[in-house]
Amino acid sequence: MNSSTDTLVQIRGLVFDRGRRRIFDGVDMDIRRGSVTAIMGPSGTGKTTLLKLIGGQLKPGKGEILVDGEPVHRLSRRRLYLLRKRIGMLFQTGALLTDLDVFENVAYPLREHTGLPESMIRTLVLMKLEAVGLRGARRLMPAELSGGMARRVALARAIALDPMMILYDEPFTGQDPISMGVLVKLIRTLNDALGLTSIVVSHDVQETASISDYIYVISEGKIVGEGTPDQLRQTNSPWVRQFMDGLPDGPVPFHYPAPDYRKDLLRC
């Protein structure tokens, strides 16, 4: 993918450490406007960290992260918050405010950032809830929602301010097949209908590949594969093959490094 005005998020030479552990080591990435881009990789490779870096919640050790041309890691607090109003994020847990019901959760960003009258807020909230199929659940509390419903409410909240981009953190984890199907459909439909740009962090290969325009596969701090879903399915890279096909052994070994098995057993 080439860097151009078409690019909404541009990452260059990203280096990020957590303690002594290097999470990203020179990552370059371009997210095209209007696309659904997947970032995939095994658990613990820093996919969620990458979303936090893009959202400005973490600062890189080295490198540049440009979102809509703005360097998120160098923005003042005020400008960062202005940028965040144009970014929605769907957290793995939904992150709904537990003391507010569904309606108030979706209304929350509207009440915080707009001076709209109550009647208009009501209309907007009902439209957003209708888009995710939960208009009828508006008076339920978060504790009364299933995991899939909570994520749909969080999705309605994420699109409340009509953002330019939505970041999805593991949207399919722990979902039953129906909820997963609903979320898969919603991510693609909302992206196309609202003209969004979506970044989906996931390790659910089939579901994510089915809705993505472009995929980055990361491991051990580097991008080990990238391309369209079809290109990745046909790649010869053993690492990407192992990941895409879900093979138990390969470049990522089945066994955690350990001393010789026989010697270990015979040691008393």
Binding site: L82, R84, K85, L96, T98, P109, R157
Partner: protein, 259 residues
């Protein structure tokens, strides 16, 4: 030996780093003070949560502490034929010491632990991160109102504790043990000084309010976002508050009443 030194160094560095974070945290929370003027509803709701909901506990505890003071005071004073001074003893103990200190300890157990657990769980369930990503500063929306609510509620609860404690002492001393009612109240009025006793007691409870609420909200905000981390932070909140209240009580007492 080297290992012990290393552990000591690591512990000291960790403790100083945490102290530094706590101070920065307090400054950030105070920097958002304008928020409670713009949105007074946030403060009123928290005053209800930490203050009003603590009234029953504080009232009952104050009543029992006052009754015990009345009983114990009568036993000691009657040996010297000075049971008429029971009112002074009960009031001075409550106004100067027990009111602010016991209220602070009870407050940290009821409201402080609840604040830590609430904020810790909000962190563990990514609600604070969610607010940040919605361009809402959790420091101003969540922390600042709770901090001010604790600081405002503590002197009021302490005053309530003291008032009910004196009534408890009266109930045991006058109707039950037969201390003269006139002496009970008049000696109290004559001896308890407004500036020396009451103002100092209010200052103490305000200082304890800052300490307990600061520790409670900081422990919640700084906790490891797991169930174990929230549990540990809640324990720390109560334990650190108790140490800090009792330690600072000695310092304040020495400054206020020391010769």
């Amino acid at each position: 030996m080297l290992n012990v030194l290393w552990r000591l160094g690591a512990f000291s560095l960790g403790a100083f780093a945490k102290l530094g974070r706590a101070n920065l945290f307090l400054l950030q929370a105070l920097a958002g003070s304008a928020e409670i003027i713009v949105r007074p509803g946030l403060l009123i709701r928290q005053l209800y949560m930490v203050g009003v909901l603590s009234i029953l506990l504080i009232s009952l505890s104050g009543f029992f502490v006052g009754m015990v003071l009345g009983l114990q005071g009568y036993n000691v004073l009657s040996d010297f034929g000075a049971e008429e001074s029971l009112g002074v003893m009960v009031a001075a103990s409550l106004v100067r010491e027990l009111g602010p200190v016991v209220t602070a300890l009870l407050f940290s157990g009821r409201a402080g632990s609840a604040l830590t657990a609430e904020i810790g769980l909000m962190k563990a369930t990514e609600q604070l991160s969610g607010m940040e990503m919605m361009a809402v500063d959790p420091m101003r929306r969540i922390i600042t109102p709770r901090l001010y609510a604790g600081i405002l509620a503590m002197p009021l609860l302490s005053a309530l504790f003291t008032y009910i404690g004196i009534q408890g002492g009266y109930l045991v001393g006058v109707p039950l043990l037969g201390v003269d009612e006139g002496s009970f109240w008049s000696q109290m009025q004559a001896t308890i000084d407004f500036r020396e006793d009451i103002v100092n007691g209010v200052i103490k409870s305000m200082v304890f309010g800052v300490i307990v609420t600061w520790i409670a909200v900081f422990e919640g905000y700084d906790c490891v976002p797991t169930s174990e981390g929230v549990s540990r932070a809640t324990t720390h909140s109560v334990v650190y508050s108790a140490f800090a209240v009792l330690g600072s009580d000695f310092v304040l007492t020495a400054l206020m009443f020391g010769e």
